[in-house]
Symmetry: C2
């Protein structure tokens, strides 16, 4: 892409709104100096922050709106009060109008998904959108989807997730033919729900470009990084994601307690503090902040609502990668090429 | 219970069979000297091990059988070749005949569940059996069920799981009125699958003895120990269990690498080695080894197939607790008392 990447920002989203979004944008801009922002929010809040971050100000177009979607708005409520005029809606619409390449919001997930689906619409051949997470593993990182956009899935939806997830893996991990596994309760072909078994059959029997079907994987394969892309419907995916986050926190807490219990342990901690700092950084959820909404005619990045500037900057980095590697084009291309064969297999 | 607890052992189950089962039984016997075993297996393998563990031999009745269910047998295969004659079947049947109070097997889960269901039958009011896991948390331990016995669930099945899980929590944690949460993708009442929402309504509206309904919980509440009993259907439950196990291993591996990377870290590790040993013990999966099959007319404990004698002994300990606190009686009592109200609420 020769022209600069343009990122629309919902400055009012998240627990801390503009006070995190603007400093986050400033951090990301240092890493990608060519970046341009289109920022939507309340000028009373945003204008002073733009003054405080002159580089962001110089790289941005700012649009004032007084309407903001609250973190506790239900999707229907958010649509009713925020459609056509909230910072969230306007940032999404910038992508639809071609004024931005990708949008980042730390606003509430349900509202963001509802607005994005309403405004951008789903892609051809795709019935329902999905949220993909980037999952740290022992081998590096994997893509896991869907982590909560929709609940329940028939086989074709799971196959669509496989196609979209492998396109995302190509962009994020720069590999030509990512391996894809279907999350199940056993690796044998006879196990699991019908939809998962049927999706396995379709993926086995269909030649899909840039996708190497691996077979079924189980919950413990997530942390191992057995495959580049793990496909599951949103209920199990969301539970897996939050279970892993909870377990990581639990063990970090065990470790903290263990290192505090005796004098010897505290002495040991002192010597090994560099190693502990490295471990802490590795486990820092801000490093992999950003869920990717897939299946829409535009790329939406959801930042964690409670994150800080460092975390928001990671979400902007991710948005930058999506736009500069033309994620949407790659998904469209694969869908166009694979769909006849996939449909024949259904 | 005044007479000794009698535990039936499938000596041929698990990756290592009798060479783990017998030493495991010996360890458990040291902790519960009054224990009696009824052991089923091939005498060529078992007899020498009984000679090596004279205390176990003195506390056991041994029954020879040449038929053993293999770890890779499908449930149907296991039933076909092992019914009425395998060590697994005979150990289960000892419970049915009243010759043992509980059975422990490290054999393959699918086969064990199929045989147990066929032999013992489900309890009155219970449609499908479940597997409950004891889950280490920041507050101590919780019960999580179903972790993989059956896939998919309607509301009544989830309510049954809540009743059985809270009875198990009463026995294992010695609390009179355990808190129960339904695993979901959000804590708001409008979120999630229909069956989960409907089960939430029934649990909210029905007075069930010895059960305090908490509401919905999410994946990260598992590690926090937000409730004593977490209820979910077997697909999501199995994925959550294995995801947590995988994440724990992943972080342990990160920690090992961090502590090995620099000289300072290794020095720190040396000083803090007592703390690391305590942490390792805390994370040791052998400590909480043993899934409990619930909903059958008899208690079956499934030990992890790959465990060692220490792990198998934990499963025997768990079996001992179940029998001495009369788990089945407690479940029956609650079901009898709660069922009219539950049925009215459906």
């Amino acid at each position: 892409m020769s022209r600069p990447v343009r990122i629309a920002l919902d400055a009012m989203g998240g627990d801390h709104g503009a006070s995190v979004v603007l400093p986050g944008a400033a951090l990301a801009l240092e890493r990608h100096p060519g970046l341009r922002f289109v920022i939507y929010g309340d000028e009373k809040v945003v204008a002073p922050l733009l003054d405080a971050h002159p580089k962001v100000k110089a790289s941005s177009d700012f649009h004032h709106t007084e309407v903001a979607v609250a973190m506790d708005h239900k999707p229907s409520q958010a649509l009713r009060m925020g459609r056509y005029k909230s910072s969230m809606w306007l940032a999404i619409e910038a992508v639809k109008k071609g004024e931005a390449d990708v949008v980042v919001s730390a606003g509430n997930t349900g509202a963001l998904m509802a607005m994005a689906t309403f405004c951008l619409k789903t892609m051809a051949h795709i019935e329902r959108p999905a949220i993909a997470a980037i999952w740290p593993t022992l081998r590096g990182e994997s893509i896991v989807l869907d982590v909560g956009a929709t609940i329940g899935a028939h086989a074709q939806h799971l196959v669509d997730l496989a196609v979209m997830g492998s396109a995302l893996a190509r962009v994020v991990f720069d590999i030509d033919r990512p391996t894809v596994g279907l999350l199940n309760v056993g690796v044998e072909e006879i196990k699991g729900i019908e939809a998962v078994k049927e999706a396995g059959r379709i993926l086995r029997e269909t030649e899909i470009p840039h996708l190497a079907y691996h077979g079924f994987v189980e919950g413990d394969d997530l942390g191992k990084g057995t495959v580049d892309v793990v496909v599951t419907e949103g209920f199990a995916g969301n539970i897996a994601l939050k279970t892993a986050e909870g377990t990581a926190k639990q063990i970090a807490e065990y470790l903290r307690n263990a290192m505090n219990r005796t004098l010897m342990a505290r002495v040991g901690y002192f010597f090994a503090r560099g190693a502990f700092a490295a471990l802490k950084e590795k486990l820092d959820p801000r490093r992999a902040n950003g869920g990717v909404f897939l299946g829409l005619e535009g790329v939406v990045i959801k930042s964690h609502g409670g994150t800080d500037a460092l975390g928001f900057a990671s979400a902007v980095d991710l948005a930058y990668e999506m736009a500069s590697h033309e994620l949407l084009g790659k998904i469209r291309e694969t869908l166009e090429r694979a769909h006849p064969a996939m449909s024949a297999a259904v």
